[in-house]
Every structure is written in structure tokens, then in C-alpha cells.
Symmetry: C2
Subunit: 342 residues, 2 copies
DNA sequence: CTGAAAGCGCTTACAG
DNA sequence: CTGAAAGCGCTTACAG
């Protein structure tokens, strides 16, 4: 059996409460006694029991709120699976977790929900933010003034007082794509990028990482630059039609976000599936199918489950154990899939 | 706050003990009462508190044993990190975990330790087995006769009564390598496999998966077959020297196990690093460095941490919650790394 | 077949 | 500054 608080109390000749005060820095204790108890605990290798702690904490009813924007998208549905698993786990320790879904992007609604959660005495909030000045101010207010820690996931608002960000290192994702593109084109020929919006920071970062790494590591590749398909398959298809027309020797396409179906449709029409290598992002159903049947060559993804799961759990550790995340940035793994390890 | 046992007891007009008996199928309860209580619990969505359960279980002192062969190898050192994390977690819930390391392969020692653990009343054992008839018999005896569940990890003994296996799907790993090789050679040219021993089942399975998938998906590739380097870098180097001599147009090498350094040394001497694509296995330091500096093109790996972590946790869930693993095979992800997502 | 009680290892008012 | 006690949600002998 492991050492308990009581055993340390006996060793030190004090009560359990005193040991608790010493070990958890609760104050109201004579410094000498505190030091002595800490030394004993260290010497005997005391490790607090999570079970005991959890049970005692159950009285406090820690409340964690989650605000999930773009909840209708396939990626966020996977994130939701991770969120729900973490909800179950945290709740089995006596916390309660409320997940609020928003279809699309709606900072006004996010702000409303945050205010509501504050009035309902939530202890911490995880949210997938969007670029919005009011939201930025509110995150700082919650973090600093109200003492309600905020975790951003999926996309970040870097210059805020958020506890940490959980999501992808988008630049690295783009570099990884560049590495794959370099390999499968043998470092030669024309390639092109199809992206969503110029204003989408994470897609832009993927493209930046890709561009940079192609120029550094594969200088023989002729990178034709970026086209924007505005997250629309129809637009993506038209653009691809044009591209294929203009560059009959095109060797590869890197798709930073959505539009994959449109691109593939165009290649299909032109009977170019075999000739042009496709690297796309995100393990959503359509993409997985296109990977399985060989239309796409590689998919790069972020671990959606981990994003959801960790968002809640890092808040839980903070509120429950007063343990801060190891870093302000919790990057999820960049995962490469071909059709065999999917 | 979540529903508690007590609340269900109040609802049903019985005592806590009776609810416990009903919900956990402990018998000694009138069937009608049991049904009624179960219905109530279901209706109100009762979820047991892990914290409460853990504390109550702490009295039992669940003991989990781990036997780690080949503990001196880099891969198993990573497994050990996962084992230690799970040990901490399980112990914080009142279990105790003993990890026994063995350098190299020594079934006799494994068996000795198992017997010792039995006499010390261990409740479950996780072990990385080797092919050995006595060991196979003993696993069955522990599982069936002594009622001590056994989990195999890293390599499996399939026809035993072990609770489950945690590790890699080696065939799929080989297929994944084939997919990469097909892409980076553009499906053409001569390739060759360098493996360890013919008797190593998991290396053999990797090679089988690779061979099969190359012939199916990339029929234009000229697969020159397998050479065995007996897990020795010096041998691997000599073999590669010969191969390069004999096949000046070789396009790719798939290395199923160790010997990577030797192969690369040979390529270096022949100044062929740029011309010959290398796909190797396992995220060990030497390999990671060779990947980073561009000598190797891809590394395929198993999640060593997960292997260690899950080995203990699945036993813990079994012993603690009487919850069996979802399947007899818990395959870890097959991970592809290039030098950007390492 | 059922209930009352003790106890698992913590935290937290409360009393001093 | 310190101690004694109650309580978190379970499980488990024990008594009936």
C-alpha cells in the first residue's frame, strides 16, 4: 500500500489537517513545521491519492464549459467525440461538463454563452475561437479579472491571457506536406496549392510552411503558387479545370483545406488521377474514401480526438490539481496516412 | 451533481448495500428488487463515481506485475516510459505495480518471475513474451486455473488464453511501407528488403505484408526479395555493399528491423544516398537522426508509449472495473514519419 | 435476502 | 497556528 496522509501525520506527530496544509501550501502553519513535514513526505516518497482527493473535491462540484464553433463540420464532429470522452471521465470524478455547440462561426453567440457560464459559476471554459476583438478582450477579462481559466482549441488567439492552446502546428503541417510532395514527385516538376480563404490563418500557415520548405528542400520543383477555392467544391473544380488546361504537365496538388472533392472530380474528368499526386488535409469521410481508392496519395491530419479530449482534461487538471499545462502550446501530432495505415 | 448510489437507494426505498448488490450483480438479492433497482438506475442515468469506487477498492490493494524482456533495447526503453506513466496513474488509485526488467530474451527467467508473482498474490500480469512452449502452457494455466489474467504486449502468443495482445499489426505495417515505396519510386525499378532473422515472426510479417502489397499494387516494381542481416550492422553493411555492386540501378530498400546504420554506411561509401530510397522501422535515436538529416526517407513506427501505457491500464480496468478489453487484439497506430513531423 | 456501519484517503469548515 | 470531525461515493464484512 502507498503512503497516506495519515502515516505522514503520525511520523511528524501532527494531525492530518496540518499535513494537508503543509503539503498543499494552504498557509496558516508554522514555517518550521511545514518544512519538516515536506521533508518527511519527500523522504518517504509520498504521492497523494487521486481517488481520495477526487472524492473530497466532489463536494465542490467543479463546472467546466465548452463552446464548440463549426460544430456541423466533420472535423469538429470528431473533436466532439474526444470532448464527450473527457466529459465522461471528468464527470466520473465529480466534475460537471457542459458542451455548447454552435453551427458555423458566431462570436456574438460565443460571448453570450461565456457571460452565461460566468453567471452560472463555471470554473473554466474551453472554446474554439474565431478572430474577434470583443472575444479577445473577454478572454483576457475572464482569465485575469474573473479568474476563470480559458483554453483555446483548434484555432488560437495568441496574444491573450488564455491558459493554453491545443491544436495543430500548422506551419509544421505544411512542411510535412512539402516533404511528401518532394518525395513523390522526385523533387521535380510543377506543383500548385489550392487553399480556402486568404483570411484563414491556419490554412495560410500550412501554405506558408509548404512554400518555404519546397523552396529550401526541393529547389528544382516549380511551385506555381496558391489558388483560393473559398471552401467550395464547385469553385475548386472550376479552378482545377483551368489549372489542368494551363499546365498540362502538372505533377502535384497540395490542398490545404476543403475542396478536395471538387479537385478530384476535375482530375477524374481529365483522366489525370494517375498522373497528378494529391496531398490533402483532414481525416474526414470523403477524404478517407478518396485515399482508400487511390485518388488521393496522402492525407495529413491532426488528431481531432486528442484536441477534444485534452481541452477538457487540461482544464480539469488545472481546476482539480491546480496543475498548469506544461506549455502554452499543446500541439497535437501531425499524422500522415496513406491508404494502408488509415 | 451527478446521481449517487444513495439517491437511487432513496428512490427505490432500499439501502445502499442493496443497490450495490443489484447494480453489480453480486447476488444475494431478490430478482424483482434487482430488476426494479436496475430500471431506476437506468432511468435516472446513474453513472458510478470512479473516485468513490477507487477509494473503496484501495482496501483490496490490487497488484499488477509487468515483465519486460529486451529491456535494454531503445524501443523497449520507450515502452518503459509508457509503463511508468501507467504505473503512476494506477498507483494513484491505490493499486500497486511492479515492473521487472530482463535484458535480452530469457523465457526461463520470465517463468520464474511469473511463479514468484503468483506466490506474492499478484492479480494480473503483463508481459512481452517470446516463443516458448513452457511459457505458453504457463500463460494458459495462469489465465484459466489461477484466474490471473495475462496481457501480452509487443509480441503475441496467439493461441493462448491471454486476455489480449497490445502491439503492432505487423502485416499492415509492411503494407504501409509498400505504399510509401510505391509512391516514392513512382512504382518502378528494383527494390530489395533487408530483414533480421527468418525466425522473427513480426519481421517476417512485415516483409510478407510488404511483398504482397508490392505485387498487388505496384506490379511494375521489380522486387528482388529478402536478405537477412541477423540484426547486425556490420552484416547489413556487407550485404548492402554486395547488393549495390550487383544491382547498380537499385531504387529502394525496405529495412524491416535493425541494421539501418550498416545499410546507410554502405550507401554513404557508394555515394548513393540520393539515388536510393530507404524506408525503415522504429523511432529509435539512430533512425531519427538518419531521418532528420535526409539519409532515410521514411520511418514507420509503432506507438511504443501506448504499448506500455495500455498494457497496464487494460489490466487495471479488468481488475478494477471487471471490464474486459474491447477486443483480443489492441493494435497500436501505424505511424509514418518524414523529417518534418518527427 | 436485506440493512446498518465501518472504512478507503483526502479536504474543509469549525473550534480553539 | 493546530486539531478533531464530518463528509465525498463507493465496497464489504457482519448481523439479522
Amino acid at each position: 500500500m502507498a503512503i497516506t496522509l495519515q502515516q505522514i501525520a503520525d511520523l511528524a506527530g501532527v494531525s492530518r489537517g496540518t499535513v494537508d496544509r503543509a503539503l498543499n501550501n494552504r498557509g496558516r502553519i508554522k514555517p518550521e513545521v511545514e518544512q519538516r513535514i515536506k521533508k518527511i513526505a519527500k523522504d518517504v516518497g509520498y504521492k497523494p491519492s487521486r481517488a481520495g482527493r477526487a472524492l473530497a473535491m466532489a463536494k465542490k462540484n467543479i463546472k467546466i464549459g465548452v463552446i464548440l464553433q463549426l460544430a456541423q463540420t466533420p472535423f469538429m464532429k470528431d473533436v466532439l467525440i474526444g470532448l464527450k470522452a473527457a466529459k465522461l471521465e471528468a464527470e466520473s470524478f465529480g466534475a460537471s461538463v457542459k458542451i455548447h455547440k454552435i453551427n458555423g462561426v458566431n462570436p456574438t453567440e460565443v460571448i453570450q454563452i461565456m457571460e452565461k457560464m460566468k453567471s452560472e459559476k463555471f470554473n473554466g471554459i474551453a472554446l474554439s475561437p474565431s478572430q474577434d476583438n470583443l472575444l479577445i478582450k473577454l478572454i483576457d477579462k475572464f482569465s485575469q479579472e474573473y479568474n476563470i481559466p480559458i483554453i483555446t482549441f483548434n484555432s488560437d488567439l495568441e496574444n491573450t491571457a488564455r491558459l493554453c492552446f491545443i491544436g495543430q502546428n500548422a506551419v509544421k503541417s505544411g512542411q510535412t506536406a512539402a516533404g511528401l510532395m518532394g518525395e513523390i514527385t522526385n523533387g521535380q516538376g510543377q506543383i500548385i496549392i489550392i487553399s480556402g480563404h486568404e483570411e484563414n490563418p491556419s490554412l495560410q500557415q500550412r501554405a506558408d510552411g509548404f512554400n518555404r520548405e519546397i523552396s529550401i528542400s526541393y529547389p528544382q520543383i516549380n511551385n506555381l503558387g496558391i489558388r483560393y477555392a473559398y471552401d467550395d467544391d464547385w469553385v475548386a473544380e472550376k479552378i482545377t479545370d483551368e489549372i489542368l488546361d494551363k499546365y498540362p504537365n502538372l505533377k502535384g496538388i497540395y490542398i490545404t483545406g476543403s475542396g478536395v472533392l471538387g479537385v478530384c472530380k476535375s482530375l477524374q474528368k481529365a483522366n489525370k488521377i494517375k498522373d497528378i499526386k494529391i496531398i490533402a488535409n483532414d481525416f474526414i469521410n470523403d477524404n478517407i474514401q478518396l485515399l482508400s481508392n487511390g485518388t488521393i496519395n496522402f492525407l495529413i491530419g491532426q488528431d481531432a480526438y486528442t484536441q477534444g479530449y485534452q481541452s477538457i482534461m487540461l482544464l480539469f487538471y488545472k481546476l482539480f490539481d491546480n496543475k498548469n499545462p506544461d506549455s502554452k502550446f499543446a500541439y497535437t501530432d501531425i499524422v500522415i496516412k496513406n491508404r494502408f495505415n488509415i
